[in-house]
């Protein structure tokens, strides 16, 4: 599997770097293998305009089809509710990451620690250091960045892609999960 460049050119991570998601099947397979996934969605997921949709809409579709827990960070919990998605919890990106690295955490649903976390819509550099923290301190957890810019501290991440290609990837992942 190829490796990609970080989006911000100076953000050099070190020896352990993400595997690049070239095909949506990679992400779909990881999600399907997960017994207890969680999706963490930041405010940029409602600020970025895609064709006829916003990234948050894909987060909801993925969550609906997998029954994954959703955490809305920043101030966007109301966006989930206004879209009819009631299962989202609010927690800051730092608070959720702090819990995800705690092996003893009982989870938001009381079913124990998560084994896979998807990230979307967090400011690039903030997601960068968050994923770094999880890479170092949460060995039990796989992480996927489903943002359009490459996140080298994730376990898997897209390469740097255009908005159009990003939407295609998100659409493919959501559709394949919905077919399950």
């Amino acid at each position: 599997m190829m490796r990609s460049e970080p989006w911000q050119t100076a953000e050099i991570p070190g020896p352990v770097r993400a595997l690049t998601i070239l095909k949506p099947e990679v992400a779909v397979s990881a999600i399907n293998r997960s017994k207890h996934p969680i999706i963490v969605v930041g405010h940029e997921a409602v600020e970025t305009e895609l064709e006829d949709a916003k990234p948050i809409d894909y987060a909801i579709r993925i969550a609906d089809s997998t029954e994954a827990q959703v955490v809305a960070t920043a101030h966007i919990i109301g966006e989930f509710i206004s879209r009819g998605f009631k299962r989202a919890c609010w927690m800051s990106i730092l608070d959720i990451a702090n819990r995800l690295k705690d092996p003893g955490w009982g989870g938001l649903d009381g079913k124990g620690q998560y084994d896979l976390a998807l990230f979307m819509g967090i400011p690039y550099y903030m997601e960068w250091v968050t994923l770094s923290s999880l890479k170092h301190y949460a060995p039990h957890l796989k992480t996927i960045s489903i943002d359009r810019f490459h996140q080298p501290h994730a376990t898997w991440s897209f390469p740097n892609i255009t908005l159009k290609d990003w939407q295609k990837q998100l659409e493919a992942i959501a559709t394949q999960l919905e077919r399950k």
């Binding site: 989006w7 911000q8 050119t9 100076a10 050099i12 991570p13 070190g14 020896p15 352990v16 930041g42 405010h43 960070t73 920043a74 101030h75 919990i77 109301g78 966006e79 509710i81 206004s82 919890c89 609010w90 800051s92 990106i93 730092l94 608070d95 990451a97 702090n98 819990r99 690295k101 955490w105 967090i122 400011p123 690039y124 550099y125 903030m126 250091v129 968050t130 770094s132 923290s133 890479k135 170092h136 301190y137 060995p139």
Partner: protein, 782 residues
């Protein structure tokens, strides 16, 4: 004052060799014997003196490390790969390495403020003498004039000379702290963190020394809530005059510029303008001076060609300032040993010779380590350079702009270099067609770092294009800022002490720090306004205090014009420059001392315990950039005051986060009974990075909650927290049951909704303790 350490006083001594009368020898630290207040347990604390207190805080607020990279590269055995639990060649793991880097940053910050104070005090002693009295507001009843120094060191400095001894102590501590980061020294992350707190505490003393010295000697506003308003903004400068720009933090050279103008009747003939904290301090000295803006205004202002001479002192000055100045043919005068810029030392040369070389273009600049000479040279050079330069600028004309924009290949290198990932290629693409709207839109969001230009393979002057596209906005940058008032009066503390401690004033929010804003400086003003409208006390300093000014309300007034400068509910208090941050800590300390009558002298742990449990204060450094910002924050952490930073603050590599789901972390001692009592997660975090301004505001409101809040106070604080949560998040918060201790604390306007939430959660009443983390305070009568 006398000294501690060795203090030998002999009325009369007769020996075989000699007879001595009235001999007094003192070596060591200053300890005042006339001060009736007893010396507390920790005068002049060393690295481990307050370790137990630090560890109490660090148990509640555990470090969450956010490694910037996987490696350590600080010695020749490296680089060491610290990923996946690996140890470096010296045995350090990734956590220890992160905490070590945080300590390094805080040492840099503390050293910078303390070095600033040292240079300032040396200069002032030379000018005014060591016996010059410290006076930061005696005429308005400021009796506790150096609360941080009193608290930390246990001494009351009365003269400039007294400050030198305190600086000796600070410098020693910084050397020891820095040495702890050497290979093979400290080997535990929590001990590194304790030293981080120590660096922050040292930093606060250093800042206080610097500011009380300059207030006393330069006659800056002394705790004056009605300090005058000054002009701020690029649009305020009269470009028909010679313009001097001062940049940095250490104000004596700028003071000498003003004095020279005054002495020679030239004041109205020259514009003195400033960027960063020197700008704050020069307007405190002479309100007719003008503030251009925060640290990030350097490139845009210099390139505009308006300044004729640039005088730099120290800190936060662009390292390429000389190169940028040469582009606009403006000479640079460096005035600090800490920032020589490669310039020839002209300190001993005749003024006319230096002026001639600078004005004639023979030298691009000069290093002059004599503030008085800087003043004269700067003014004379400005007069000579002004007609020759003709305000020569490097901002392109419109046809040049379009031509440059057409060279853009949309490679995205500028955007990938931009800290805020701004859509530069799109804006430049539009500009290539003559549409400058996109560039103008970037102006407000741009932090002025210039990385876009460095990255451009086609050498497009991206930042200059943005400035050109924003000419109208720049012309309209005309605002007012209340100049830094310095300390808070004792009487103000008496007036607000009770309502703050009881919770009836919902909180004190301090907006401090630099200008690395994720969405522009306007956000700081919006945050300030939100809290002012809610009758919090809003305190400001540094670049944040400037950004607050750059906004007008519906009535066309800046917030400084719309709100009083008093330390009271709904007051907007600009304390001043970076070093004035010490007065914010000082206000919290004075609440414990003046209102609650806790002994101050060398009594750090008890005062910090008081502040942490009772004073609903929170800091926000929305655009924190520097190591100084890190050390300023760490000074507040040791006092138990939480600090929120913007999203870029996550790059500080470490947060201090509470876990509200860990009930055992939130017990305090009830000082009346000695019982361990659950006090709830208040404040929930000690260091926290927020993703958006909305998140920051809600968190700040929550972080003002304290275990000591009375029922009425808790109700008021909860009303604000819950209301802001609903306003910005659109939903009720999910942690209400953890913060309501009894029904009387439920905000009246939300009663039905909250009662329902409490019922569903199985809520039960909780006691309100007389809270302390220190068992030794149990049963102590006050």
């Amino acid at each position: 004052m006398s000294r501690k350490g060795l203090h030998l006083k002999l009325e009369e001594l007769k020996t075989e060799l000699a007879q001595v009368k009235g001999l007094e020898i003192a070596i060591g630290r200053i300890i005042e014997e006339e001060w009736a207040e007893p010396v507390g347990p920790t005068p002049f604390p060393t690295l481990a003196s307050l370790r137990e207190w630090d560890l109490k805080l660090l148990k509640k607020y555990r470090p969450m490390y956010l490694p910037y990279c996987d490696v350590c590269c600080l010695c020749t055995m490296g680089k060491c790969d610290l990923s996946k639990g690996k140890l470096g060649a010296c045995g350090l793991d990734i956590s220890k390495q992160q905490s070590r880097v945080v300590l390094l940053a805080c040492c840099i910050g503390a050293a910078t403020h303390t070095g600033h104070a040292r240079h300032l005090v040396e200069h002032l002693i030379e000018k005014y003498g060591p016996d010059y009295p410290i006076d930061v507001g005696r005429s308005v009843g400021v009796e506790v004039e150096a609360p941080v120094t009193r608290l930390v060191c246990g001494v009351r400095p009365k003269t400039l000379g007294d400050l030198e001894e305190i600086l000796d102590y600070l410098e020693t501590q910084i050397v020891h702290l820095l040495s702890s980061t050497h290979t093979g020294q400290e080997g535990d992350e929590l001990d590194f963190e304790s030293k981080v707190f120590h660096a922050g505490m040292i930093d606060q003393v250093g800042m206080e020394i610097a500011d009380i010295a300059q207030i006393s000697t330069f006659n800056l506003p002394r705790a004056d809530p009605n300090a005058p308003l000054a002009d701020i903004g690029l649009g305020t400068v009269d470009t028909s005059k010679p313009v001097i720009l001062v940049i940095g933090h250490n104000v004596p050279p700028s003071v000498e510029i003003i004095d020279y103008l005054e002495r020679n009747g030239l004041h109205d003939k020259v514009e003195v303008t400033g960027i960063c904290c020197t700008a704050h301090d020069i307007t405190r000295y002479e309100p007719r001076a003008k503030i251009i803006g925060p640290i990030s205004w350097q490139l845009r202002y210099v390139r505009s060609g308006v300044p004729d001479v640039i005088v730099v002192d120290e800190q936060c000055i662009r390292a390429d300032i000389l190169v940028e100045a040469q582009k606009i043919r403006a000479p640079v005068i460096a005035s600090s040993e800490k920032n020589c810029l490669g310039l020839a030392d002209r300190t001993e040369d005749p003024v006319e010779e230096i002026v001639s070389d600078l004005a004639g273009g023979k030298s691009p600049g000069a290093l002059i380590l004599n503030p008085e000479k800087v003043g004269e040279v700067a003014v004379k050079t400005a007069f000579q350079v002004y007609p020759v330069r003709g305000k020569f600028k490097v901002i392109p004309e419109i046809n040049e702009l379009i031509g440059e924009a057409r060279r853009c290949t949309r490679c995205n290198e500028c955007r990938r270099a931009c800290p805020n990932n701004l859509p530069i290629p799109e804006a430049v693409g539009e500009a290539a067609t003559g549409n400058l709207t996109g560039l103008a839109n970037l102006y407000d969001l741009c932090i002025g770092c210039g990385r876009c230009e460095s990255a451009c393979p086609n050498h497009i002057r991206v930042h200059s294009l943005i400035v050109k596209g924003s000419e109208r906005k720049i012309r309209e940058e005309k605002y007012k800022v209340r100049v830094g008032r310095g300390p808070i009066q004792d009487v103000e503390i008496r007036n607000v002490g009770a309502p703050i401690v009881l919770g009836e004033i919902p909180g004190v929010v301090a907006l401090v720090g630099c200008a690395n804003y994720p969405e522009g400086g306007i956000e700081v003003a919006e945050i300030a306004e939100e809290f002012l409208k809610r009758r919090y006390i809003v305190v400001a300093s540094g670049c944040s205090a400037m950004s607050i000014a750059a906004y007008k309300n519906e009535e066309g007034k800046t917030l400084y014009e719309a709100y009083p400068g008093t330390f009271e509910a709904g007051g907007l208090v600009n304390v001043g420059s970076c070093v004035s941050n010490s007065h914010i800590a000082g206000a919290a300390i004075k609440i414990a001392n003046i209102f609650a009558k806790r002994n101050l002298r060398a009594n750090y742990e008890e005062i910090a315990d008081y502040i942490h449990n009772r004073v609903g204060a929170v800091g926000l450094a929305w655009g924190a950039i520097t190591q100084k910002a890190a050390s300023i924050a760490s000074g507040f952490w040791r006092l138990g005051v939480p600090v929120v930073v913007g999203p870029h603050g996550s790059k500080y590599r470490r947060m201090l986060l509470g876990r509200r789901d860990h009930e055992e972390d939130w017990y305090v001692y009830d000082a009346r009974t000695g019982n361990r009592v659950y006090a709830g997660p208040a404040p929930e975090h000690l260091f926290y990075a927020a993703e958006t301004k909305e998140e920051a505001m809600v968190m700040m409101a929550k972080l003002c909650l304290r275990p000591n809040d009375t029922s009425k106070g808790r109700m008021i604080k909860l009303a604000n927290y819950i209301d802001m949560h609903r306003k910005f998040y659109g939903v009720m918060p999910d942690d209400i049951p953890q913060y309501v201790r009894r029904e009387s604390e439920i905000p009246v306007t939300m009663k039905d909704e909250i009662v329902k939430i409490l019922k569903e959660s199985g809520w039960q009443e909780k006691p309100t303790p007389d809270p302390t983390l220190l068992p030794r305070l149990v049963g102590v009568k006050r």
